[in-house]
């Protein structure tokens, strides 16, 4: 992963579209499923697609922050400014962990590790809200553990789908990278 900070307008627009699609699909799935933690499936999928397609430090964070702003504007999460944290925290965690992971590692495993890191941060936001609201620490920890379990399952599923999609995009000559 190269560490050039400024993204071109085309890359920024791609990140923005991915973020909007993530928010729209999250809203639709919430209506259909009503399951807690399923948003991690789409979150890990789209963040890792941005990571794979752009291959730059900060691409996942940009996607997360824009998703938070779009969700706030569209009222998807009904959380107001807190929804920004819900989308941004996992993205920041995934970007930071991506810096630590060796590029020689298998892409499948890298994606799964990043997905789980994002899930832990996502559950951390839930725990932070509960702590701020004055919830007992035992209850906060149990709810955090349940969130990690449920979100981790969906995040791993989403992460597992990313490498084949990236390979297909590469086969269609839509990526400008030689190696993931």
């Amino acid at each position: 992963m190269t560490k050039k900070i400024p993204l071109s307008l085309q890359d920024s627009l791609f990140v923005g579209f991915c973020a909007t699609l993530l928010v729209a699909l999250t809203g639709m799935l919430r209506l259909k499923l009503g399951l807690s933690g399923h948003s991690m499936f789409l979150m890990s999928f789209f963040y890792l697609i941005c990571y794979g397609v752009l291959g730059r430090f900060g691409s996942m964070t940009a996607c997360g922050v824009i998703a938070g702003i779009v969700a706030m504007a569209l009222g998807v999460g009904k959380g107001g400014p807190m929804i920004l944290l819900k989308f941004a925290l996992p993205a920041i965690a995934m970007d930071l962990v991506a810096l630590l992971l060796p590029l020689s590692m298998n892409l499948h495993w890298r994606c799964v590790i990043l997905g789980i890191a994002g899930c832990i941060a996502w559950a951390g936001k839930v725990a932070l809200t509960n702590v701020l609201a004055g919830m007992a620490l035992d209850v906060v920890l149990i709810q955090w553990g349940l969130s990690v379990l449920k979100g981790g399952f969906f995040a791993t599923l989403g992460a597992w789908l990313v490498p084949p999609v990236l390979t297909r995009l590469k086969a269609h000559d839509l990526l400008h990278r030689d190696k993931f």
């Binding site: 071109s8 307008l9 085309q10 890359d11 920024s12 627009l13 791609f14 990140v15 923005g16 579209f17 991915c18 973020a19 909007t20 699609l21 729209a24 999928f45 697609i49 397609v53 940009a62 824009i66 702003i69 779009v70 706030m72 504007a73 569209l74 009222g75 999460g77 009904k78 959380g79 107001g80 400014p81 807190m82 929804i83 809200t129 509960n130 701020l132 609201a133 004055g134 919830m135 007992a136 035992d138 209850v139 149990i142 709810q143 789908l161 084949p164 999609v165 297909r168 995009l169 269609h172 839509l174």
Partner: protein, 226 residues
């Protein structure tokens, strides 16, 4: 005389636009303050805060907003938290659990109200004061292209169903077919997004996007009719 008339009209138009943007910025600030108050205020001040939130709910309902989503969130949170408090601490601490859930709902209501009362393009304009111009443009473009993206997804889904892909609601009851949904719908959508972002970037740059120091913002004429 005609020139002064035109100048007066332009000034009135400009002040209307400024008022709309300032109102949106104030709403955003109010939402942040009220959400923070829900967590920070002591318990005895929660009742006045609930009164303020009640006014926001009434205003939101008058603007034809649906409160059902917030109510559902509150009920789910209440049932999980109260059952955990009951198991861990017994009946005497149930009220404490209820206060915690009340704080979470009070933090949620202002966000719901903002989404009903503020237009997305106004929020985009307010955000452009904090975000770099490029990212404010990206957010505004993404929001305005959402209906187009929804149409694209629907079209791709219907075409893939006609081709015989196992992605109909009935077929998707089987988890084995879920991966087909990704390859038949999400993959073509990603290709479309890559193409769309390239086209939009070329269109914007050919119109000298990013060159002017102080970019202008679009104000829809329909705002004035609302």
């Amino acid at each position: 005389m005609w020139a002064s008339c035109r100048r007066l009209r332009a000034l009135r138009h400009w002040s209307y636009e400024r008022r709309e943007t300032a109102l949106c910025a104030l709403s955003l600030l109010l939402v942040c303050v009220l959400s923070a108050c829900a967590f920070v205020l002591p318990t005895y001040l929660l009742l006045p805060l609930a009164g303020l939130n009640g006014l926001l709910v009434i205003h939101g309902l008058l603007r034809r907003g649906s409160i059902w989503g917030v109510l559902k969130l509150g009920l789910v949170q209440l049932s999980i938290t109260l059952s955990l408090y009951l198991i861990l601490y017994g009946v005497e601490h149930l009220a404490q659990g209820a206060v915690v859930v009340a704080r979470i709902i009070l933090a949620t209501i202002p966000g719901w109200w903002l989404c009903i009362t503020a237009a997305p393009e106004r929020i985009g304009e307010v955000l452009s004061a904090f975000l770099p111009t490029k990212w404010a443009f990206v957010v505004a473009a993404s929001l305005s292209l959402l209906p187009y993206m929804a149409d694209e997804i629907r079209e791709i889904y219907q075409i893939q169903c006609l081709r015989g892909a196992r992605i109909t609601p009935k077929a998707l009851r089987n988890p084995k077919n879920w991966s087909e949904l990704v390859y038949c719908v999400l993959f073509p959508v990603l290709i479309q997004l890559l193409k769309l972002s390239r086209q939009m970037a070329v269109a914007a740059q050919s119109r000298h996007f990013g060159i002017a120091q102080r970019p202008t913002h679009w104000h829809s004429p329909r705002d004035k009719n609302d």
